[in-house]
Amino acid sequence: AQSVAQPEDPVNVAEGNPLTVKCTYSVSGNPYLFWYVQYPNRGLQFLLKYITGDNLVKGSYGFEAEFNKSQTSFHLKKPSALVSDSALYFCAVRDGTSGTYKYIFGTGTRLKVLA
């Protein structure tokens, strides 16, 4: 079965410092991995995805993520955090070889960037 794990504890980081939001996954086939961001009272917005190829994926708003197959991880990173990055971040996975149309989401990690 597919699953995604994200830390429940909030991530606090000072503005200007690098940030990392962790995600680990479990699928039986090839993973398709996604990161989304949710601002208060809004729907989720797509940030980036990994399908195949280069393990470092670049996305919107200066975010990037590193796919690590051996550690089954897909951590979200940004070199220099902004206060406006404060939001709820979701990792999602889809099994690329199962034929399913389903995406499985993690429980979300709240990021707070302190001025």
Partner: protein, 115 residues
């Protein structure tokens, strides 16, 4: 923003009453999804559709039904609302072109309260 609207945006209803939520898209995307978002659970898939009249269950489908008679509309019905169905409901869409690994686009959400 992707052309996705949800109606109503807010609804308060009483236990035992039927409720229908509507998702409308103008993107002509093949896949449509209904999720619920609850604290500590992240996003959980209720039902999804992979074409007109083609639907399937997600992980929390009990007490919910869906219908899709047109590409653009995906309806979620709570047959007899219960307090445990108080939640924020999100509709999402994804394209079929370019493969089966496209990202999802989310609607603004519907906040449902069952008293």
């Amino acid at each position: 923003d992707a052309g996705i609207t949800q109606s109503p945006r807010h609804k308060v209803t009483e236990t035992g009453t039927p409720v229908t939520l509507r998702c409308h898209q103008t993107e002509n995307h093949r896949y449509m999804y209904w999720y619920r978002q609850d604290p500590g659970h992240g996003l959980r898939l209720i039902h999804y559709s992979y074409g007109v009249k083609d639907t399937d269950k997600g992980e929390v489908s009990d007490g919910y039904s869906v219908s899709r008679s047109k590409t653009e509309d995906f309806l979620l019905t709570l047959e007899s609302a219960t307090s445990s169905q108080t939640s924020v409901y999100f509709c999402a869409i994804s394209a079929s072109s370019g493969g089966t690994y496209n990202e999802q686009f989310f609607g603004p959400g519907t906040r449902l309260t069952v008293l």
